[in-house]
Structures are given as C-alpha cells and as structure tokens.
Amino acid sequence: SNSTGKNEENTESTNNAGTSNSEGSSNSSDDKKDPIKIGVLASLSGALESYGKQTVKGFKLGLEYATEGTMEVAGYKIEYVIEDTETKPEVAIQKATKMIEDDRVDFLIGSSSSADTLAVLPLAEEYEKIMIVEPAAADSITGADWNKYIFRTARNSSQDAVAGAAAIAGDGVKIATLAPDYAFGRDGIAAFKEAAEKLGADIVHEEYADPAATDFTSNIQKIIDAKPDYLYVVWAGANTPWNQIADMKVQEKGIKISTGAPDIAALATMDALIGMEGFTVYYHTLPKNEVNDWLVKKHNSRHNGEAPDLFTPGGMSAAIAIVQALKNTDGDTDVNKLISTMEGMSFDTPKGKMTFRKEDHQALQALYAIRLEKVDGVDYPVPVLMRELTPEETAPPVRN
C-alpha cells in the first residue's frame, strides 16, 4: 500500500523505524525486537498550551529516568509520538486514531483537557490499547465513561476536593464555595461538599460565577453575606477572581480563603492571596524523595534553569508507569497481561508512591496541604507545605 510521506511522522527517538508497520504482530522470540511505541496527546497550542508542554517535558524526562537513559525496556526500544490536540475533541480523535492506526502505538497518554480525553476513551476500548490519562481531571473519566483500558496517573477532581476539604474542613467549620459555572466547577464543588461534610463542616453557601465574567463582586457580595469561616474556591482558566476578592476585603471580614494552588504562571497572579491555606497537586519543593530530586535537577539543566511545574511530574509518572508495567510483563504488550499487571501496581513517582486502584484504575497519590507565602527571591507566592495528605487520605470514592 501507498504510505510514502509517512516517514516524516516524527518519532523522536534515536531510530526512526519505517519498519514499524511491516508485519502484523511482534514475536518476542525474534532477535530484532520491534520497538514499543507510546503516543502522547497534549494541548501544544490553544488555551491549555502550557499544561500540554508541562506534560510532554515530564513525559520525556520520565522515560529517561525509568529506562535509566537507555530508552529500552526488556530489550525493546521505546519510541514515542507526540501529537497536538489543540484542545479540540475532534482533533484529539483524529490524532489518536492516527497514532493507533498509522504509527501503531501500543500505549496512549493524554490529554490536557477533559473533553479531549473523554472523546478518546472509546478509541482505547475499540482498539484495545492502554491509555494513561494525564492530566485531565474529570471524574467521569474514571467514573461513568470509564473502560478497562483506562488508567489515570493524574489526580481526579474528587481527589482535589478531598484534599481541599482535608486542608480546611473540621467540625462546625462554616464554608462557602465559589466556582465557575460549568462542569469542572460544579463537579469540583459537589465532591468537595461531600468530603467536607464528612469531616463535619457546614457548607453555608455555594456560588457559581460565569467563567468569562469580568466582574465577580456580586458573587463575592453573596459570600460575604453568608458569613462563612472559609471561602473555598475552585478555579481554572485565565480569568481570575483573586483581585476582586482582595478588593472586597473578604479576608479582613474574617473569612479565610482556600483553593488549590495552580501552576507557577497562575501563582504569579495570586499576590492578593498570600497567607491563604489550601492544597496543591505539586510544587517542586514539596515532595521529598529521590525521584523528585532527580526531576528538579534534570529539569533545571534541561530547560535553562526552570523548575518543573504543576503537571510535569504527571507526565513523568505516566512514563514511569508504562515502563514499570512493561518491565513486569517483560516487554509483552499483550493488553490483558498489561491490565492485570497494572491493576494494583505501585510505582515511584516525583510525588512519592502511586498505586493504580483495582476498581477504577485511578492512581491514588499524595497531595499537599499548603500555605501561600512570600519567599525572598521568588516573585510569586510560594506554596509552603503544611502537611502531606497521604494517598489513603485523599482516595476518592469509586464511581464507575
């Protein structure tokens, strides 16, 4: 068949194998083993570009770390293909199909947005390929829309919520919430509410704002009226309410703010929230373990002095998970074998030990209760560890 011109598909590994679509399946008894291929879907353009780039950087470092620089596992070369979903579901599907059908990848990793990821899930099932979800957080990925080929190294919204609750909730604590009025915000608050009420807190007010709004003062006004002890904010997207929260003197009125600390670029907009107590998925100074030390060091030298950001360790974890699974199967890419070895598998990541839960393949993982503080020499508020929230503590309910 005519597949010229396909060679420029960039498989960024050392060896660009035009041979990959020669024979149907690979026999492990062969001398020359077919490489194992991983396809990474990420937003490399559009609104989530920076997330996508973090994932990709982390993924590359992760492969390097897990294979100790050989880019080989059990004698198989590892190659990868990276494709940009542009944060559009239809592009995600097109690219995923291309990677599965034309590049013949054995694993998928992705993607930066939940919608893109949801759109690709059925493909994983149809083609029986393992897909590691990273960093999309929608609960339904490991919930209603889950299938057995789906694993997730990213934390889901419920884990965020549990962590958020753990950071502030307690007996009789009155909490008001603010979130953008769409699925991400609504789900986040629902999960938070469940977790916080379990800890004895009282949700006194839920406020949802137009995610594209310029003015949040009405929403904040209502929160002030509800007189809570805490205001818990779930927010994502560039447009932020922080300035207005400060301008409305929320904190002066004795209402403490709590939210998830975002990536560094967004932290820079949170000056007004210094002193805020909340949680984070990752900040490079928080986890104390070898993997993270390696990551911070390598990232620094590889990317001219930059520290790894919010989703960098996630990309790395996804790579580590795949390599470890392949080690366990001795390079066998038979999907059922892989699933059974990955179910319940623990692996060391920059965030400590993660474990794929058997029931829904969600990786249980540590999250961090933090306080935002001003640190000398850093021009944005820095998350400072108050307490590590253990994987068990933040384990979300099984919902599939």
């Binding site: 490399l44 239809e90 097109q94 291309k98 919608a115 759109a119 339904s140 209603a144 769409y182 699925a183």
Partner: protein
C-alpha cells in the same frame, strides 16, 4: 442556452467524485480517511451556510446552533436508546425536525432585522443554546460532554468515509438544484435588492425563512454526522468557532458557489493538517497558527472573490466575454 462550460465542469466534478470513491482502496491510512470524513462533513455544513450567506445574502453568526442540535440529538439518542441504524436514522430525522422548527422560529423573530442586527441576534440565540447545553446537565452532561456508542455497522472508518462522502454528494446535488430552481433565483434576487423583490409579487419573508430552514436542516445533518464520527459530543458544537469555521470555509472557497464551500472545507482542513504536521518538523512552525492566519490574509489578497469566484472571473476575463451570467452569481460588495 446552457453554457458549454457547465458540461465540462460536470465532467470534472464526476471525475473528482470518482477519485474520492476510489481513494480508500488506494490508501488505507485511517487518519487520512478521518481527515477526508471531516472535510465532507464540514463541506456539508459550509454548503448549508452558503445558502444563507452566498445565495440569500444573510450573515448569520449563529449557524452553530443547528449543527449543535444535530450533534446533541444524535448523541443523546444513541446514548439513551439502542445503537441501531434505525435509532440513528430516527435521531437524524428528529434533529432535522427540531432544527427546522428552531430555524423557523428564529427566522420569524429575526429575519426582519437589518444585516448586523440579524447577525447578532442569531449569535444571541446560539449563545442561549450553548448555555442550555451547559446547564441541562441531566441530558447533556454539561461542558465536558459525553461519549456514546454507535451502531456496529458504522464503526469502520471506511464505512463512515463512504457515508459522509455520499451525504456530501447528495447535499451538493440537492442544493445545486435548490439554488437553480425558480425559488433559488428569487433568493438571489433578495440578496441583491430585498424591497424590489416584494414589489415583484414575492413575499420576501417566506423566502428567507425557507432559506433559513433549509440551511438549518442541512446543518443539523452535518452535526449528526460529526458526532457520529467522534462518538462524543460536548458544548463546543454550539461555540462561535463552529460558525466561524463555516463562514471561513464558505468565504475562502467563494460565496454563492456551493463548490466553493466544499473546496474551502478541504483547503482549511488540509492546510490545518499540513501545518500542524510541519510544527514537528521545524521549530519555526511551532506557532503554525500564524501561518494559518497569513493564509486567510493572502486568500483575500489573491482570491478576493474566494477561490471559485476568482477563478470564474479569470475565466471570464480570459475569454474577454462581456458580463456573463456567472458574474451575476457573485455577491454585492
């Protein structure tokens, strides 16, 4: 009186159709099939838009509304009921009916307005649909959307390729006939001079509503097909970007030509594919979107009437023919 030309162009069209039918047997790259499928679907959508923009002279900023109606209806039907062809067809029909009714109502409410005001009112309506899709979460699962299974018979990309190709050809032929029917000619007259049409004894508002219903229904087909290939739907189908895509494809190809819409869809989808591909070849292309923007700018500079429109003009000029019928098909500045 038929210009000899038209039989020649018909031969070209048939040849292209034939090539497209053969294509999957020559090259079985699935991603190419998906790309083509995408082109066919957007060609249908853009053609429906051309009925409004090119033939009736109405600029709508809310055409995504009908696309979204098709998309969600099919998605919800397949999620809730059996995944049979019957349910699929039923969903397409129901979508068409809803789109028809909605376009009828929206048309009645808004078609009396002058150009910009009409455009913005349609934007408002489609914005309301977007909010509804976001808020009616028991049905739509909100902004994240939902996946759904499709009939087994359609799972093969090749089948979908042929289904959408077939749909595109049928829609093209049907709309071509529609625009060249006596009614279609009246639409073009409305584009030129609306009050004058009134005094020739045509009830303008009926025609505009008919145009908007036809466009709406065809757009809903495109929406249904679109989610069928994705097996997923979310609120992005109602976004202004979808309308803008149709707008761009129609304009780049040449308004008021129908083929233009197809060519525009192909051009934009392939340019997109090609440019994103380049992004990995050289860092210069990492911001490939810039080149996309430049493409639009150059298109206006070199093809001011769109590709088809400008080529037609060249053809006329070369022949030195005086004012030809074809020229009448170009829209007023």
């Amino acid at each position: 009186m038929l210009p000899k030309n038209s039989s020649k162009t018909n031969i070209i069209y048939c040849a292209v159709a034939f090539l497209l039918i053969c294509y999957p047997f020559l090259n079985d790259s699935k991603s190419m099939l998906i790309l083509f499928t995408q082109v066919f679907i957007f060609a249908v959508f853009a053609m429906s838009y051309d009925i409004l923009l090119g033939f009736t002279g109405i600029v709508s900023f809310g055409h995504a509304m009908f696309f979204g109606i098709g998309a969600y209806t099919t998605g919800i039907f397949l999620k809730r009921f059996d995944q049979t062809i019957l349910i699929l067809i039923l969903s397409i029909l129901v979508a068409a009916i809803i789109a028809g009714v909605v376009s009828y109502i929206v048309g009645l409410l808004s078609l009396r307005l002058k150009s910009h005001f009409y455009a913005m009112l349609t934007l408002a309506f489609s914005g309301l649909f977007l909010v509804a899709a976001e808020k009616w979460r028991s049905l739509t699962y909100g902004n994240d959307g939902f996946t759904f299974p499709i009939p087994d018979a359609l799972k093969d990309r090749m089948t979908l390729y042929f289904v959408t190709l077939f749909l595109m050809i049928i829609v093209y032929i049907a709309l071509k006939r529609f625009t060249q029917s006596p009614l279609g000619r009246v639409l073009q007259a409305i584009r030129e001079n609306e009050p004058r049409v009134e005094s020739l004894g045509y009830a303008v508002i009926h025609y505009k509503v008919i145009a908007s219903v036809v466009a709406g229904v065809i757009a809903s087909f495109a929406g249904s097909m679109y989610v069928l290939t994705l097996r997923f739907v979310n609120t992005s189908v109602f976004a202004i970007d979808v309308t803008l895509d149709a707008l761009l494809m129609t304009i780049i190809g040449g308004v008021g030509t129908l083929v233009g819409a197809i060519i525009g869809a192909g051009l934009i989808e392939f340019a997109h594919h090609w440019l994103t591909g380049l992004a990995k070849v050289h860092w210069i292309f990492e911001r490939w979107m810039i080149f996309f923007g430049i493409l639009y700018i150059l298109a206006v500079m070199f093809f001011p009437l769109g590709i088809v429109g400008t080529i037609k003009l060249w053809a006329i000029k070369r022949k030195g023919k005086k004012a030809e019928v074809v020229k009448s098909e170009k829209i007023a500045g």
